[in-house]
Amino acid sequence: MTAAVAVLDRYRLDVVDPDSDNGKALARRFVAGDETALDEVVAAHASSLHGFCRRAAGADVAADLVQETFVAAWRSSHRFDPERGALGGWLTGIARNKVRDHFRSRRLVPVDAHTAATIADGAPGDDIVDGLAEQMLVSEALAQLPTNMRESVELAFFTGLTHNEIAERTGRPLGSVKSDIRRGLSRLRRELEGLDASA
């Protein structure tokens, strides 16, 4: 059933991916103001949001920024459309905004030692925070993919192997590898769209 749908509609965004339906259902309940959904969303995303906030702004303010992110998300949930992006991405975007505000309010500019960014005019720190938000979001979403799907997508990202070589490496059918890469990228794209929606 899934394969048939994929073959016919594979480049359409409205293909229903049954694996991500649970995420959408939770997002819909969250937007509808279901308070149990709030608890579930906190449980599902607190770890990764804390990881982002800590890396971006430091351990001493991470907990506050995480709390502010969830409070702001709940209050502005009417602005989130589960059909247009993933909730995790949207939450990451709110956290990114909170981190940016945090730096602005203290007139600090975050320096990313790893990329050795030079400080110039016009809040370059925002680029660093944005980059970190995107990277953590994609990394987290990648880690959440089902194992087979994740393997294929990782080999697509980080190696130059052809589809056939990936199929050989993972021991899986060629058709499954191609489908996993498409669907995996589609899920990651939804997260990015959620992030972009909270800009």
């Binding site: 804390h50 709940w74 995107e134 990277q135 953590m136 994609v138 990394s139 990228l185």
Partner: protein, 276 residues
Amino acid sequence: MHPHDDDELLLNAVRGASMNVDTATLDTATLDAATLDPELSDELRAASRLGDIARAARSRGLTTDFSDEVDVASIAASVRAGLATSDDHGGSAQRTPGSAPSSSSGSGRPDHLAAVLAANDSASPTNVVPLRRTRRWVPAAAAAVVAVVSLGIVATIANRGPDETVLALTSLDAIGPAGGATAELVEVDGELTVHVHTPGLTSPDVTAGDGYFEVWLLDATASELLSLGPAVADGVYSLPEGFDPATLPVVDVSVEHFDGDPTHSGDSVLRGVLDI
């Protein structure tokens, strides 16, 4: 592989120029595909972006274990607390009219005072505003917002002699750390006086001998003033003959300096409104 196979295009896009890809073939194929199917070109663009992000994340070590160990329950509790206690915008609407914070608690913090001002704007029949520049006096430094805290009318009237009639009474609320002061408009033998009681009123400048307390009557907008003179021990101040106290119902006590300037310093320490 057919060069225009969509899966091949996708795989190439994910890898972008940083990987071992025949960019000439990719560009041509991508352009052709974009002409044929805009959704496909969107997908290829997104795939390229995702690839760049994933590789950037990997190069900075964000692969696994980037999520922190957190106490989900305590975060959930803090979120609920944050949702429950935050004010709606326009907090003055939530204050009970007539409620007043303790006059001894004036800490001088601007946000506290601003909130009280907002509350009292809706509560008080006579709004007392900060002293402004008029032709009669010039305030010493920009006194900023001088907060007026409540206008309680003391309920019980002290026992008076047969010739004394208390016409109006107010508690003077502190603008700053003092508290517990009162003012009364008293008629004695047909003569009007203002009695001001200021137990425990101190000021660093006064204590140091650099200043003194002065008593004033103001109008509701604090633009008309009448000085009742420096504070005296018995706290009794005569009003000019023929003067109608209803025109200046606000009693104000300020700290003044020996500068030869008769105008109000702008530095009020007590204020209250007589309900005349």
